[in-house]
Symmetry: D2
Amino acid sequence: MGLRIAMEMKMDIAALQAFLVRDFPQAAGDFEFVAVAPPFVTMALIASDKHLRPGGTVSGPSMFGLADVCAYFCILAALGPVALAVTTNCSIDFMRKPLAGRLLCRMELLKLGRALAVCEGRIFSDAAPDKIVARASLTYSIPPNS
Amino acid sequence: MGLRIAMEMKMDIAALQAFLVRDFPQAAGDFEFVAVAPPFVTMALIASDKHLRPGGTVSGPSMFGLADVCAYFCILAALGPVALAVTTNCSIDFMRKPLAGRLLCRMELLKLGRALAVCEGRIFSDAAPDKIVARASLTYSIPPNS
Amino acid sequence: MGLRIAMEMKMDIAALQAFLVRDFPQAAGDFEFVAVAPPFVTMALIASDKHLRPGGTVSGPSMFGLADVCAYFCILAALGPVALAVTTNCSIDFMRKPLAGRLLCRMELLKLGRALAVCEGRIFSDAAPDKIVARASLTYSIPPNS
Amino acid sequence: MGLRIAMEMKMDIAALQAFLVRDFPQAAGDFEFVAVAPPFVTMALIASDKHLRPGGTVSGPSMFGLADVCAYFCILAALGPVALAVTTNCSIDFMRKPLAGRLLCRMELLKLGRALAVCEGRIFSDAAPDKIVARASLTYSIPPNS
């Protein structure tokens, strides 16, 4: 899409990790940061039994959760440590069953407006990055005075 | 939307409950059937710590999971006990924070085609059914020879 | 979904019609108001050659346009004659081919917040109101100081 | 997303142009092919008065139409000249007002399955390719025996 202009990074992985523990206390152990380079953030799902469906495939809600968390930190990485942004919309397409092993989500911040932020990303297995498992777009509402 | 034509009910609550345990073994205890009357199915989320965010509000992935399960059983109630249908798309809007207490999802089957089924539903707190917490539309792919 | 609380109507059909001509000058002749009773607005598409695909079926963009206009006036009917709201998201599912004749959209305002409004509606042929042709959900951004 | 595996091109621009005229007779003059290299197809909207809103900005339905046509030809370029595929779902986010001048859509085919194809793309002004105007994801149903 032509030149991609790098955004300033307002929070690094260590700072984001502290927010992951603070804002998602029950789920913090399920995720890890792989790469943070605004407008992109890549995170991994550390899948355990609770994330799986019969046959060993990662469940839809687990993939939704991965996309949602990854979008949240995509916004924080560019915006800085602000009051809580909240998801207002998500559209997700499930396309293939993930392979066994680590599941990654690479999310891109497409718009960081005054009131809304829009992200778009893809979920794929670490072992087959060119086979997209799911795609998702998410809108977050940014609280005033952030 | 004019006359709503009742669909035949192919599975009752007891039959659907057996499939809930079979197809969602890790999550079966999180949900209960409230009403089954095709094209409508209403289910409740039995929220526990794992479903909550800081402040005690139900998380987005938990609401996604409720909508997804409810759509699945909306299809099975009308189609009968078939080979696994899989979610291909979900669009969900989060509009208000849920109140404390039971969270319900009332899902409607809008189309049951040869290859695709489309559902649309709303999530609301038992204590305030006119304040919609979230809305979701989901598409399921129906395997051939179902 | 339980009791539906009627919203106050801030603009009637005559007032909305004046805004249709003002805000959609090229398309005003394509639409007519059928019923306005907040949170519901029903509009019809007056289909002409430009709206049709081979075979005489109404095109996807024409149905998108009908849903978009209907949501816009759903918001204005409840909010009053304000500065321009703009569409930020639409998710639309096309389920059946419309029949010949008038195509209607019945839209419901689900949330009218400070910054965002969310609508959900269904498109159907006048001749078969129980066969849903398409469903759509739309988010509008409401400008500050509206 | 790692290596992008090139798809075989089943139809070139001349062949696609013939289908544009056949399948979209009323709208064929509104669009032109810019680049065809499966899984990518880029098309331009030749905006005229009918595509504009007050202020000279391209309307939402016109951008929806551009995304929809571009996805259709993204599928045909990879699949070949088959029986008509039909749009079943579209999720579109409008993020910025387009600049004056040519509006482009670059669409990518993410999945070409037996029954469904999924595309994702971005709309941007020719003069500012790094400022995304809109993003869209679309699902098409592929008829059996294609």
